[in-house]
Amino acid sequence: MVSVINTVDTSHEDMIHDAQMDYYGTRLATCSSDRSVKIFDVRNGGQILIADLRGHEGPVWQVAWAHPMYGNILASCSYDRKVIIWKEENGTWEKTHEHMGHDSSVNSVCWAPHDYGLILACGSSDGAISLLTYTGLGQWEVKKISNAHTIGCNAVSWAPAVVPGSLIDQPSGQKPSYIKKFASGGCDNLIKLWKEEEDGQWKEEQKLEAHSDWVRDVAWAPSIGLPTSTIASCSQDGRVFIWTCDDASGNTWSPKLLHKFNDVVWHVSWSITANILAVSGGDNKVTLWKESVDGQWVCISDVNKGQGSVSTSITEGQQNEQ
């Protein structure tokens, strides 16, 4: 039984494009075509507007919270080709960095696992992916992968950090060496896996081909301690694939079709323990999927937008579960 426990009135003046909970589920960030990014405190079923951030000059497509150990940091990306990083300093939210290295709309931002440091990946319609690394004292280092996807890159998603075996033996003060990887999806119908080489450059490690139209979203599943890696991808072609890789070398990825929808599938996302995949499609629904015992993916719930007359008040009677 699924129930609405809170409804936040964002007062955005235009379409909302993204909403993200912070790490603890206490704060909510939203962004909209009205060019603003808003932050709400949603503890205990309440909604208090904490910040109304202006700075973008076009619709804002996505927001992403950084890991709390770095403080309260939020990234946003927009049609205006900018990526802005906002930070809460002494109780107020301010712009702490602006990245203008793209020639076209920036569609997706994703923070790397906190173990790697403070690193942000950004995917843009100019086909490039840029990686911003915080190096201290307000400085951000930029690495750019040009032509990552022809026509444009729509989504980026980091692989979970794998603890290297030698972590315990590291001399004190030294940072352990992780193998950093992330996945990207683009208008070339491909999903690409990228790996950071020892010299700090990013190299394309794998190409995953199965979609017949633009890849709209990719989501790398959190690690649950099994040796397999799992990625979900969705596309304009209405398909959602689950890619799994079993071997330790990470070379063979096999796709399994989750479902073929009747319309574009825009967004996929894993729950924090990776046992449920949520899929949002053009059919006005969010569906939840789980893997069953025989390896088939089963839809366990439909979350549907309400049909009926325009209404701004939510009463008990309108919440309806079958």
Partner: protein, 618 residues
């Protein structure tokens, strides 16, 4: 759980009807966000304003019901106790223990139901025990009512009470009621006595009874016939109440159905029916009687409810079906998780292999425990449940525990203790780092330092130590002296931290006027390379007062060392490019300091040489 027999549940989110809009969403740690959006990105804004609402949705909101919290807490204790039985007992004593666990669960449920019953409002979340509420709790209060009145047998509900007691097979209590009626109304005393005798003599199979089933059957047949005879003879003809009771005791279906309201549901009807017509029913026949009871009672009026399906499955001893039905019908995982766990311990469950958890028990426990983590204090119960899930319990705990908001220091400490007890070093490090960073941002350096020590995070300890040292340079004193003074072996965590500790020790020695020791320590800080280069000037400046003491503190050897350090330092400082005004001013100060040091060192050298060269002791 392999196939879904029905369509997945559709949850409608109240919102604006539209053709072109979709729903975007995000996972929170325990919930989901949904809102209306349009994914096809258009640059121009739409003429029609979108829906500005974001809905936060969650399943298992029952976790937040206050009454259930008590249930969760108490059942948690029983659960943990059950897991530990495994290790200790075998055979008969084990079986007895398992039965006791079941009874404990039942009594906890009953206590919860009683509390719920007292609340007139609120949904009944555990429908399965509806009859406990109605037939135990309600009867008790009815009984108290009637017996408490002046003339119990004249109470308006008297016969209702007696009937209910008979329906529930509580014949001793029914007999006591009848004796009150006999006392109050002599005319019916004879009849009451007869009926009372019948009640007393009804053969029952009780534990400790050595008779066989066949013997019991025989006895019961005789008793049944005796009741029938009384009915035929019209013994109770003048009291419709007593006659009705006799018919019930004969298992007369029509008489039972007369009392539909008191029975209130088909499974009570089933039990009463079996009690008075087939007392020796065999388990394998149960489901037949169950099905027919359901049909007769409902009379084809209403459809079966999910609860009915659960019970029918239970009467067929189809455990998997029971679990399946429960999972779909009930609103949270509490019942089905505990039930499955108990059944597993009784070895009644053949496991299926599921991807999430190696067997069904673990799958259900994981679901239940995950739900608990959404609650600000019940998460602590969830920890134990994860502990007893051997396959995915640990990793699930790791993922969930990091997401607990660390709103207070006590909460943070609780969470850390849980992680430390389980050697979850990554989580400890991550949580301590978050707290350390927060402390640094709020300028609580002592707190930051202790968190980084607890996290065994050398890099961060270095960072905080640097801040301490910088603070000292700016303000001339240390904060959080207590902490630094009592670092102990933790000092070894990072070089910078060691330096901080030792440097503070130097100041202490100086304060205690143990100048020689202080001097030796100061020198060693530089020569052992523990002190960062950037700090050497400060150290040398600290040496000045020691150089200017009346007595000679630094030996000649030590003075040479100091001089070497100074030259080392100054030779490394070359000015690059054009110095600006500030730099010149700084340079000025530097130069003065260096000069003062050189003079001081030279003087000390002279004095120490003389002292060491002369013949006196000391």
């Amino acid at each position: 759980m392999e196939e879904l027999d029905g369509e997945p549940t559709v949850t409608l989110i109240p919102g604006v009807n539209s053709q072109k809009k979709q729903m975007c969403f995000d996972w929170g740690p325990g919930e989901m966000l949904v809102c209306e959006t349009s994914f096809s990105k258009k640059e121009k804004s739409e003429m029609v304003p979108g829906c500005p609402y974001i809905h936060i949705i969650r399943k298992d909101i029952d976790v937040y019901c206050k009454i259930l919290r008590k249930l969760f807490n108490e059942s948690h204790g029983i659960f943990v106790g059950l897991q530990r039985i495994e290790e200790e007992l075998t055979g008969k004593s084990r079986k007895a223990q398992l039965v006791r666990v079941s009874k404990n669960y039942r009594s906890v449920i009953r206590a919860c139901m009683e509390e719920m019953h007292q609340l007139a409002t609120g949904p009944l979340l555990l429908h399965l025990l509806d009859w406990v509420r109605l037939h135990v709790c309600e009867v008790d209060s009815l009984s108290a009512d009637v017996l408490g009145s002046e003339n119990p047998s004249k109470h308006k509900d008297f016969w209702k009470l007696v009937t209910v007691l008979v329906l529930q097979g509580r014949l001793d209590e029914a007999r006591q009621m009848l004796s009150k009626e006999a006392d109050a109304s002599p005319s019916s005393a004879g009849m009451c006595r007869v009926l009372g005798d019948l009640m007393r003599t009804m053969p029952v199979l009780s534990p400790g009874n050595t008779q066989t089933l066949t013997e019991l059957e025989l006895k019961w047949q005789h008793w049944h016939e005796e009741c029938e005879r009384h009915l035929q003879d019209g013994t109770f003809a003048s009291s419709p109440h007593l006659e009705a009771l006799c018919k019930i005791m004969l298992g007369d279906e029509a008489a039972l159905l007369e009392e539909k309201e008191l029975l209130s549901n088909w499974y009570h009807f089933l039990v009463t029916r079996l009690l008075y017509s087939h007392p020796t029913v065999k388990p394998m026949d149960l489901h037949r009687y169950a099905q027919s009871s359901l049909d007769v009672f409902l009379g084809g009026e209403s459809n079966t409810e999910p609860l009915d399906n659960i019970l029918l499955a239970a009467f067929e001893f189809d455990i998997h079906q029971v679990i399946k039905e429960c999972s779909t019908a009930l609103s949270n995982w509490w019942f089905v998780a505990h039930l499955t766990d108990l059944l597993d311990h009784c070895k009644l469950l053949q496991s299926h292999n599921l991807y999430f958890g190696s067997n069904m028990r673990e799958f259900l426990l994981l679901e239940y425990a995950s739900g608990l983590f959404a609650h600000h204090s019940l998460w602590q119960l969830g920890v134990d449940y994860f502990d007893y899930c051997p396959e995915l319990g640990r990793v699930s705990l790791e993922l969930h525990i990091e997401r607990i908001p660390l709103s207070t220091e006590q909460k943070a400490l609780k969470v850390l203790r849980v992680c430390e007890q389980r050697q979850m070093t990554e989580q400890v490090r991550s949580i301590c780092k978050i707290l350390a960073m927060k402390a640094v941002r709020n300028n609580r350096l002592g707190s930051a330092l202790s968190w980084s020590i607890r996290a065994k995070d050398a890099a961060f300890a270095t960072l905080v130590s640097d801040r301490f040292l910088r603070d000292y340079c700016e303000r001339g004193c240390f904060s959080d002296l207590d902490l630094i003074d009592n670092l102990g072996p933790a000092m070894m965590l990072s070089d910078r931290l060691t330096f901080l500790g030792k440097y503070r020790e130097f100041h202490r020695l100086y304060g205690e006027k143990r100048f020689v020791d202080a001097a030796a320590l100061l020198l060693s800080l530089m020569t052992s390379q523990i002190a960062p280069r950037s700090f050497w000037m400060t150290l040398l400046t600290d040496a000045l007062p020691l150089l200017e003491q009346k007595q000679v503190i630094f030996s000649a050897e030590q003075t040479y060392e100091l001089m070497r350090c100074l030259e080392d330092l100054t030779s490394g400082r070359l000015v690059h490019g054009e110095p600006d005004a500030q730099q010149l001013q700084d340079d000025d100060i530097e130069t003065t300091k260096v000069e003062m040091l050189r003079i001081g060192l030279a003087r000390n050298l002279a004095r120490s040489i003389i002292k060491e060269g002369s013949l006196e002791g000391s």
